[in-house]
Subunit: 210 residues, 2 copies
Amino acid sequence: MEMPTGRSSMSPEDALRTAEDRFVAVWGQMAGAWGISRTMAEVHALLYITGKDLCTDDIMERLQISRGNASMSTRALVDWGILSRVNKRGDRKEYFQAEQDVWAMFRAIVRERMNREVDPLLASLHEIRDMTNIETSGAKPTGELREQIAGQKERIDAMLEFFVTLEKLGARFVSPSGKGLQLAASLLSKMPDFGALTSRDESSRERSSR
Amino acid sequence: MEMPTGRSSMSPEDALRTAEDRFVAVWGQMAGAWGISRTMAEVHALLYITGKDLCTDDIMERLQISRGNASMSTRALVDWGILSRVNKRGDRKEYFQAEQDVWAMFRAIVRERMNREVDPLLASLHEIRDMTNIETSGAKPTGELREQIAGQKERIDAMLEFFVTLEKLGARFVSPSGKGLQLAASLLSKMPDFGALTSRDESSRERSSR
DNA sequence: CCTCGTTTTCAGAATATTTTGAAAACAAAG
DNA sequence: CTTTGTTTTCAAAATATTCTGAAAACGAGG
């Protein structure tokens, strides 16, 4: 099968199409990072990169996936708030359209992950933290055990503090004034790092020997 | 089988142990969010919450997993830089110890995910962006096609901008002066949000009808 | 260069997730 | 109320990931 690589000479049409395909593939690989399935990511990628409104059949054909899969993926993406449904006059089909503002898109993703992951985690951590409180009120542990319990509380508190901070930052990013934080992030990222030498290739930290 | 819930009266020993188990379970559920396997997360959770140095056999016994699994999980966690190996005099076994500084731990995670996910993505996006440049130099597309190509470039650029910002923020967070950013984050998250009304329960955004 | 306690490896088994496709549900139009 | 084009559902199949366990490798002593 002939598979354009993007390297050799190619018509502009093919180059465009190949670039789309590569984008879809690359974005699909990031699926794990967003906590969604490969296909979901690909569907989103396709709609984002083409910038067009596509219907279920378009998506099925272009990505070679089943109708059921296409239906479930689009549904989930609409729930995430990064795709919207579009209806066309004189056409009973349903079209989909990707959020085109990248920052709005990531705000939606952050919002969703906060709700799904951070909030429940915070609730559980609080609950766990209290487990060694209430029961203890009767019996007063001493020595080793007392230390253990105190240590556990400290560790959970440290983690709670981290996630509470994260939660608040996330809430800000997601909130209407989130654009402010976006700006802050842009500025912050542009400023030079005045810390110790920002030596590149810290990545060569090697596997510790045993 | 008797399974302590943490609700009814319980000895402090049991409460401590049960709290540990719950923490391990909860942290294990977050595995997906960190892009690691459930067991890896559980191993890390166990070492973190107990605060003790544990050897492979301890881990196997406590989490009921195989030796191979324990070995692979600890190895991977050491590679991530959130566990360290510890050797004890007069004991040939190898012990493991979790990073106890929560912020240091998350810096390690961010560093790793930047390297594994963001950096390759940036490289790919640049490559894709150039695909419609080079080939085009020969043939000059016009009209519809020209628009399409321009649009694609804009969309990729928008995404690039986002990830470049993210990359820079990440680099700062990870760098030696990362503690500065940590402080900034803490402060930022504590300040009130002066944006539009921060109405809670935006989560009830409902499934759009068709 | 053996032994012994330990860790690592990795093919195959077990599990979990994702995808399919056909049937059911829907809803617009006649 | 029926037809028709469309979307949704979900059990079963396909695929991907994770885990096991036994064998191999390792390495500190002897």
